[in-house]
């Protein structure tokens, strides 16, 4: 920041906050990383004879990445407001309005803008971009698996692609609903003018941008050859790209925690007058459950990676059995995050579809209380099931039975979500649209994902299934078949409010069918090879698995084509789609009561809520 403040002020006296944007951030980040890299190279002592290989390189890499992070966040302006507050000169009203992006046009999307609608759009574009990368990597994997010998990708690169696809998609699915819709729609839905902590909101977004660079950087330092789980001790012998993963997770975990605290506070404190918990839309419950689950989960993830980084760079032995540590410690920490995390992904997507079900069936939400109980039950149980990922780890065989119990108990609240969805459709007047079709798609995919989950939760069956392609197919059915389906439906549903235009109907239908059919082809094939005994994360396989893999690859290409159609639909409709009316779906939640385009602070007069948003249907006389 000093380099910038020392500049002579220009003629029209632009304040510092007006100068900062993504370009100053990139510049400062790169310069800081470069300077620290040179300094570290110069001054860090050589490794002692006794220390493991690459120790010094790890220190240099991690220090440079931290410097990038600090430089980038300074350059984007994240430190200005705290700094001003420290010096006792808090931001003026005009400055706050500038921060909110008042009268700034397109530029506000490239700045540290605090308006929740800008952050929502930033998240939306970011999510699509991450899906594009993760999808490209998936296509590389599937293409390589087109024939048994693996083929044209080197095993090291292949392992790295698998790991990067994993972590990139996990991040994309974590932010795909709570990022765009949780930020853009949620505050309007509860009748608020902005989030509780608008600056934290901007912070959570720009942290993800800052995090992305170390991950990309790592790809040029040997990649993430450990899979997204980055199990130790494999991670401690992995190339320098692993440090990129560690930095990425640490920064992303901060982003998730910040967003979690912000969204939770907003919903608890800022609901409109009269919006009691009974009148709060179910999507809000889903969003809060998701981000609140991240609050206990992600600090553990952060910690696990800090310890992993220390093992690599400082020669500690947290995860090294030879130095008194244990790989099981890593596995525990990882899955204490890892299992709540799948519900962080799934719950908001299902809740979004529960929000849409009444709108498109013109029927009230069936049993609101059961829906809330289901979400709460899943969230509560999900922190108690992590060791079902470790049934076969040999860590604590006596704990297998209790973890089997907690895991299978989750099927009860999950069943409640099915009941709510089916009950809402029952005797409804179904408006055949992509969101409505998505509800059926979710029921289909999630049913398959859920039932296969029961086999996997059973310890004796898991002794066969664990670590096979069956597991991969199972979690794609839940996270993609249910989660992504919900997210795409949300995009179709809220697109008119977010962009002021309707999403092209024909193209979104074409995309829907291509993705759903392709998806079911791809992952049915994957179930089959998993049952036949193909392990996960392999770049070559026995000839007997060839047919199943070919089917999966063909399905994957169909998904890719469908997703490209969707991308085209989004871009073309955003640019010149049909102008959307204020409430195209005739829905009753508050976000549809504001005009297009939405004014800066959403509501002139804050609304008062007198009933829930599900007053559809005619009561029978």
């Amino acid at each position: 920041m000093t380099t910038l403040t020392n500049r002579p002020t220009s003629a029209h006296k632009k304040a510092l906050i007006e100068r900062l944007n993504i370009f100053t951030a990139l510049a400062l980040g790169v310069i800081s990383a470069f300077v620290v890299w040179r300094l570290a190279l110069q001054f860090l002592p050589q490794d002692a004879e006794t220390s493991p290989f690459f120790n010094r390189e790890d220190k240099i890499t991690l220090l440079s990445m931290i410097a990038w992070f600090v430089g980038f966040m300074t350059g984007i302006g994240a430190l200005i407001a705290p700094f001003r507050w420290l010096t006792g000169k808090d931001l003026s009203h005009d400055e706050n309005m500038f921060y909110a992006g008042k009268d700034m046009g397109v530029k506000r999307y490239f700045r540290y803008t605090t308006d929740h609608k800008v952050v929502g759009i930033q998240y939306l574009v970011m999510t699509m971009f991450i899906f594009f990368i993760g999808g490209t990597l998936a296509m590389l994997i599937r293409t390589n698996l087109g024939n048994p010998e693996g083929g044209w990708i080197h095993p090291q690169a292949y392992n790295s692609i698998v790991g990067t696809h994993g972590i990139v998609m996990i991040v994309a699915t974590i932010i795909m609903v709570t990022g765009p819709f949780g930020n853009f729609i949620m505050p309007i839905m509860i009748g608020a003018r902005d989030m509780a902590f608008p600056r934290l909101n901007a912070l959570s977004f720009w942290l993800i941008v800052a995090a992305a660079v170390p991950l990309l950087w790592g790809q040029f330092l040997g990649g993430i050859s450990t899979g997204w789980t980055a199990y130790n001790p494999l991670a401690s012998q992995a190339p320098l790209g692993m440090d990129g993963y560690i930095m990425f997770i640490c920064i992303f975990a901060i982003s998730t925690m910040v967003a979690g605290a912000n969204i939770t506070t907003t919903v608890i404190r800022m609901r409109a007058k009269g919006m009691t918990w009974n009148r709060t839309p179910i999507f809000i419950y889903g969003t809060v459950a998701s981000v609140a689950l991240a609050l206990p989960a992600f600090p553990v993830f952060f910690l696990s990676q800090v310890m992993s980084g220390m093992d690599r760079a400082l020669g500690t032995g947290f995860y090294d059995a030879a130095h008194g540590g244990s790989g099981w410690l890593y596995e525990n920490l990882f899955w204490i995050m890892g299992h709540p995390e799948v519900y962080v992904i799934l719950i908001p997507a299902v809740a979004a579809l529960m929000e849409m079900a009444p709108v498109f069936s013109r029927n009230p939400l069936f049993s609101f209380n059961v829906a809330v109980l289901g979400i709460a039950g899943i969230s509560g149980l999900s922190v108690l099931v992590w060791a079902h990922h470790m049934y076969m780890a040999g860590w604590a065989p006596l704990l297998n039975a209790p973890f089997m119990l907690t895991t299978e108990l989750i099927s009860i609240p999950t069943g409640m979500l099915f009941l709510v969805l089916v009950g809402t459709l029952w005797r409804g007047r179904l408006w055949v649209t992509v969101p409505m079709a998505s509800i059926f798609a979710l029921l289909w995919n999630f049913m398959i994902g859920g039932i296969t989950g029961i086999y996997l939760s059973d310890v004796p069956a898991d002794a066969f299934l664990h670590g096979s392609m069956y597991v991969t197919a199972h979690f794609h059915y839940t996270l993609m078949g249910a989660g992504l389906t919900g997210a795409i439906a949300s995009l179709v549903y809220w697109f008119p409010k977010m962009t002021g235009r309707m999403l092209d109907k024909k193209l979104s239908w074409i995309s829907f069918w291509m993705v759903q059919i392709g998806f079911n082809i791809a992952f049915m094939g994957m179930f089959a090879v998993g049952l036949a005994g193909q392990p996960r994360r392999v770049e070559g396989y026995a000839a007997i698995f060839n047919r199943g893999n070919l089917i999966t690859t063909a399905g994957a290409y169909l998904i890719m084509a469908g997703m490209l159609v969707l991308l085209h639909a989004v871009i073309s409709s955003w640019r010149n789609g049909v102008k959307a009316p204020m409430n195209p779906w005739q829905a009753k939640t508050l976000e549809w009561s504001v005009a297009n385009p939405i004014p800066l602070e959403n509501f002139d007069v804050l609304p008062t809520v007198t009933s829930d948003a599900y007053g559809y249907g005619k009561a029978k006389s």
Binding site: P155, N159, S225, P233, L234, Q237, A321, G327, R362, N363, P364, L365, F366, S367, M392, A393, G394, P397, A401, M404, E408, L409, S411, I412, G415, F418, V422, G423, L425, W426, R427, G428, R429, W431, F440, M447, I451, S457, D458, P460, A461, A463, F464, G467, S468, K505, A528, L531, A532, G533, P535, R536, G540, Y541, W585, Y614, Y616, K618, A619, K620
Partner: protein
Amino acid sequence: MSLDTQKSPQWWKKKDVKQTFILWLILTPIIGYVGSTVQVRSMGEPASETMESVITLMSLFTWVASPVAGLVAAMCVTALISKRHYGDNPPPEAENEIRNSPRATAVWIVISALLCLFALITGLVVLQKDTEAISDAAAMNINVTGQQWVWNYDYPNGARSEVLYLPVNKPVVFHVTSVDVKHSFWVVQMGIKMDANPGYVTETAVTPNKIGVFDIRCAELCGLLHAYMQNKVHVVSQADYDAWVSNRATMEAAA
């Protein structure tokens, strides 16, 4: 099975309820049959009792889950074929306002809890059997050591090999460990798996009951050549095994 239990005393006589019921009767066995047959066929021939019980468990769970899946499917189909609306404008409101149905909800929750309990108990029974097998005193002990990217097997008489040989119908306990990173020892057709952790020894047990050649694969990403960290297990008669293992031990001693 209808949700509309409150308003009409004779809810089971309604057309959509009857239709759903018939669909449910048709769909449940189809789902159960297709789901279990396809999966069992994909799994191939079992080579141990452990694997046989895995197969039984999976088809049992499929059959137990099929009434639930069948009901959801039947209700979806009924909802989908009864009142649909196309076009850009919203349909008129539904003719009813079903906000809740305590009876349907209670039935749903009780049934799902019972199914859950059933899955748990069956699982525990089989798990208990698998656990007892590990402490079988009469079993043969074999040490399995994973290293990037091969398996080594040490037999009681001091023999060592890279391809596993086992006598048929004799209980075996594997003591699994690793010298470098984490691997997972998976004897595919016998339905057992145990992670090989550096610094620790873990156990798993099986009794092979078929003579033949079966697959062993590493089921935990362990670096560059993880995909190729696989070999075979030869299950042979006791006499063949004795001959092989003493021969092997002599070779070992000579080398």
